[in-house]
Symmetry: C2
Subunit: 229 residues, 2 copies
């Protein structure tokens, strides 16, 4: 069956000699030492891709936000909190990278200033938080023209349209889109269903993976991506 | 030694017949289906207090925000996400409560509106999030005049002053204050050091517990609190 064929494929170590850089998990943007802004992400999809790439023989660097997951010792894991820290880690590891998979749910915005001490509730009024944009890590990676760049899009509506727009805007090769409005897949679930968008001679193609365990989707992705490179 | 004496004490089931309501963990306030605002909290301190109270014979209800922790089957666990959901759960369980321990790191504020669909980054500009106040669960509990109310204060500065002010403002019996600016204790650490503030004939008293494992601090607290009730 398919899983056996994938297992055989991985035992051949098809990614031997390649270096894959993968981001996973959320980023956490402090408002003060207690409060923060974040994106939902368990990190499971990114970790599964890292494990699948390592199993297929790649040298894997995994840059992850705060998650409750363990990575195999074969994987070089770098833990970060904020989008800026993730960007610094990606830049410093972005050497001889074959494939960059941006699976992390990076916060687009961070508070303009993080207060060094806990903000006190002063009155019965509301509060306004001013946010500024974070660096676009995936766009930066694509601009290096040095690696095959794969992005993820967590959308709740108009998924195909947004995925294609994101691909064009960031100049990347592949977008894996999932519908996070569904309760049965995505986020903290062990399952996922991914639509892989890519261009073949300028024409948009789509490959649907799953619904399946994230570990299975990850193995399918790691088998599939080198073929469209 | 002290730990053996505490163990002996707990084996006597000193809280038999009592009902304790405990909150734990962070609350998570959605900005849209992907982004959220939250407070740092692993839930470890609240879960440890729930376990210690159950071990001492109390019937325990634990209302918790999203955490990666398991509770014993003897504990009635209610999982919530937002401060409003935590408030509803506390109100519905606030019957024949002897002791209410508010250990959760409840978000003081929530976005004025949570967008039903993922907000798209529209331009290179910043973003402003309008926040409104969440209900004050501990203050509501104290106003019922029906249970011994214990609050927690996670502060980074002027800890004693803020703890005393919080006690007076909310009209509660005890504040357990910890200094979350220290890296070695608090938040995701297994260790903590707590200063327990309470009034004895109108005079402020303080009892310092730890530094020790949160499980040990929890047992000490559960032994200590009934004596000042």
């Amino acid at each position: 069956d398919l899983l056996n064929r994938i297992d055989d494929h991985f035992n051949d170590k098809p990614l031997q000699g390649q270096r894959w850089l993968i981001t996973a998990g959320p980023t956490v943007e402090p408002i003060d030492p207690v409060r923060y802004l974040a994106n939902r992400s368990s990190g499971k999809m990114g970790f599964a891709i890292a494990e699948a790439a390592a199993k297929a023989g790649a040298e894997v660097v995994l840059v992850t936000g705060p998650v409750n997951l363990l990575a195999s010792s074969a994987i070089k894991r770098i833990d970060v909190q904020t989008a800026q820290q993730m960007f610094e880690a990606v830049k410093s590891e972005f050497k001889s990278i074959d494939t960059f998979v941006a699976c992390a749910a990076v916060s687009d915005y961070r508070p303009t200033e993080a207060a060094p001490q806990k903000l006190k509730k002063q009155s019965d009024n509301g509060l306004t938080i001013e946010l500024m944009q974070n660096p676009d890590i995936l766009k930066w990676a694509a601009e290096q023209n040095a690696a095959f760049c794969v992005g993820f899009a967590a959308e709740t509506n108009n998924i195909e349209e947004y995925a294609e727009a994101k691909m064009t805007k960031k100049g990347i090769n592949v977008i894996c889109a999932n519908d996070v409005s569904r309760k049965d897949i995505g986020f903290s679930s062990d399952n996922n269903e991914v639509s892989v968008y890519y261009k073949n001679n300028g024409a948009m193609q789509v490959e649907r993976l799953g619904p399946a365990l994230k570990t299975v989707i990850a193995q399918q992705l790691v088998s599939f991506l080198p073929g469209i490179k």
